[in-house]
């Protein structure tokens, strides 16, 4: 891209994954499953399903909430910062 110098304000940029206050939320689902001793047990059961299984299934909606929050705050930041 020799014709566009770096310092030209780009037409449309999206910084939602860099330097966003909610960015750390993307780490949360990872932290919740990365340490198996945290959930490697049977009790409490839910509908007869051991904790090990329903806990991990329950982290899935948590991860959805995290990515969704990051997505929406990213959009707001971008709109607010456009010239």
């Amino acid at each position: 891209m020799t014709d566009v110098p770096d310092d030209v304000p780009a037409g449309r940029r999206d910084r939602s994954t860099t330097g966003l206050p909610t960015g750390w939320l993307l780490l949360l689902p990872l932290l919740l499953v990365v340490y198996p001793p945290l959930y490697n047990r049977t009790d409490p059961e839910l509908f007869g399903i051991p904790f090990f299984y329903w806990y991990q299934l329950a982290v899935i909606p948590v991860s959805v909430v995290c990515t969704t929050v990051v997505y929406f705050t990213g959009r707001r930041t971008r709109r607010g910062s456009t010239r």
């Binding site: 891209m1 780009a10 994954t17 993307l26 007869g48 299934l57 899935i60 991860s63 997505y71």
Partner: protein, 563 residues
């Protein structure tokens, strides 16, 4: 045979419908020309949220997953559930990493991860290494999709290779004809069928078996009887590190596979990808529920079909008849569902094999065309020549997968797929970290890759496959018996196992860092970086985001390299 008549009829009808869709796809969102790699290989880079959701979902959750993950739980218990944390971890990573790849690729017109590496590190050699790694890792993955179809065919009593050859010939024909549009359109049908089948299965089957409590009790009883200390409905103490590293390593490997990159690059803007990262976990939920079908099969008393061979340990002990674990889920469907619905379920698995097989062959073909054919064989290739080269390469790749399954032992493909996950991880420093930092020297990355490959092969070579019998553990195979590497092999006094790919990529990183430092100290010239910071968060609408002329050379900024 007659009892399977209805199942086969439903199966064939759905299969024919989908094949028709595959050919029709060439007309869908009709491009001005199909003789262009952007059109054939990336669907015109125009897919919105819905199509991308189905395409990536269809891409990542393959027939093999549907058959093999529950089979793992059936055989080993909790360890097989790693697929759930794996898909939990993968989306935030993708969100963070592949968005940057999308932007830089749309500013510079990259089609493959190797294109990016070439421009970022100014090194055609590193790009070749990344491209070849991607092709080699993808081919056994395609072959495995056939294993899924075969398991279904075996269950309905169809023997012989003709049906698989026919299915693959149809797949090859419509991929050749329609490119990425074919799997994108078929993915709608595939996912609709899979959702219906899984939801029916997780409501209907446990109810028939006496509830979830009864299902888990049956699984507990089976594992309590088994002499193997490694199975059970909870993880054994020594298997927890393996569980976490396998989930994390597989997540990192997944987004490095060329076919996931193809799915992401085909979307039309960053918002599409982000919405999908929030919506795709719906599939994870599906996968988690599906995995539990393995326990339902235990409760239902399903017995996997014998392969006809006998399991013999390396010391000559006969262990018993060898069974094909992949038939467990098709057999469970056959046992529990009415015939017509079992037919729908089988069609879902088979069609589920075709979508990823098509995308993977397209991704491998794009790598071949962009990073081998154009780089080394025909530097002045026109877009039409590129598209033709990719189409032919996709045929060759599929033919290779077919031959691998029919002529060789399917176990060979399963071993290769295991190795594939480990070797694709070795492109992590160049592709994954390369998106964030230009710190690594191209020589360091090549050296790290070589070291990681060597380490990965060595580690897998030293994983035996064992069967625990009443008479104690017996070794079935000395090498490539799995991905759980015993740390005791390295002299540590522990029973803990770790995912081999995870260790290999650590070796890779250490070597890449050390060699980078050494080359810098020695003043060895580094490549030029053709990308710049703002390229990584440019979105659609930015004047720089456009499809580069594919037959122009990758642009190189004539500036001194800065560290």
């Amino acid at each position: 045979m007659s009892e399977h008549g209805v199942e086969i009829a439903v199966f064939v009808a759905l299969f024919v419908l989908v094949s028709g869709l595959g050919f029709f796809a060439a007309r869908w969102r009709r491009p001005s020309t199909m003789e262009h790699l952007d059109e054939w290989g990336l669907g015109g880079r125009s897919f919105g949220s819905w199509i991308t959701w189905f395409l990536i979902g269809g891409d990542l959750y393959t027939a093999y997953t549907f058959v093999a993950v529950p089979a793992l739980l059936f055989g080993a218990g909790a360890a097989g559930f790693f697929a759930v944390p794996y898909t939990i971890v993968v989306y935030p990573i993708v969100f963070y990493v592949l968005l940057r790849l999308w932007s830089v690729s749309h500013v510079h017109g990259f089609v493959t991860p190797a294109d990016f590496v070439r421009a970022r590190f100014g090194s055609p050699t590193l790009a070749l290494v990344v491209a070849v790694t991607g092709i080699v890792a993808t081919m056994p993955y395609i072959a495995l999709q056939l294993v899924g179809i075969e398991a279904v065919l075996k269950t309905v009593g169809v023997r012989g290779h003709v049906p698989i050859v026919v299915a693959f010939a149809i797949l090859a024909a419509y991929t050749y004809n329609s490119g990425l549009r074919a799997p994108a359109l078929i993915a709608f049908v595939k996912d609709a069928l899979i959702y219906v089948v899984i939801i029916a299965a997780v409501i209907y089957i446990p109810a028939k078996l006496g509830g979830w409590g009864a299902v888990f009790d049956a699984a507990d009883a089976k594992f309590a009887k088994s002499p193997n200390p490694g199975d059970g409905t909870l993880l054994p103490g020594a298997g927890q590190v393996q569980y976490a590293t396998l989930a994390f390593g597989s997540a990192l490997a997944l987004f490095l596979y060329p076919h996931s990159v193809t799915g992401v690059l085909a979307s039309k803007d960053r918002g599409t990808i982000k919405r999908n990262m929030a919506a795709l976990p719906a599939y994870s939920l599906l996968l988690g529920l599906l995995a539990l079908l393995g326990y339902m099969a235990i409760a239902a008393g399903t017995k996997p079909l014998p392969t006809g061979d006998t399991l013999v340990a390396t010391d000559g002990t006969v262990i018993g008849p060898k069974t094909d674990g992949n038939t467990v889920i098709p057999l469970l469907f056959d046992q529990m569902f009415p015939h017509w619905f079992a037919g729908v379920a089988f069609a879902a698995v088979a069609i589920g094999a075709l979508v990823p097989a098509a995308i993977m062959s397209i991704a491998a073909a794009n790598l071949w065309t962009r990073n081998v054919y154009r780089e080394y064989l025909n530097k002045d290739a026109t877009p039409a020549q590129e598209a033709r080269s990719s189409k032919i390469a996709s045929l060759v790749v599929k033919l290779g997968a077919l031959v691998a399954i029919l002529a060789l032992d399917p176990q060979f493909s399963i071993d290769l797929q295991l190795i594939g996950g480990v070797i694709i991880l070795q492109t992590l420093p160049a592709v994954g970290l390369g998106l964030f930092t230009r710190w690594f020297h191209r020589g360091g990355l090549v050296a790290g890759w070589a070291a990681g490959m060597a380490a990965g092969w060595w580690l897998l070579w030293n994983v035996p496959q064992t069967a625990v019998t009443a008479a104690g553990p017996k070794i079935l195979r000395e090498h490539f018996g799995g991905s759980a590497f015993k740390l005791s092999e390295l002299g540590f006094d522990t029973t803990v196992t770790v995912y081999a790919g995870f260790l290999a990529v650590l070796v890779n990183l250490v070597v890449a860092v050390l060699v980078t430092l050494a080359l810098r100290a020695a003043g060895v010239a580094d490549g030029r970086d053709a990308t710049s910071g703002p390229d990584y968060d440019a979105d659609a609408g930015d004047p720089r985001v456009h499809d580069l002329d594919l037959h122009a050379p990758v642009t190189v900024r004539e500036e001194p390299v800065q560290y």
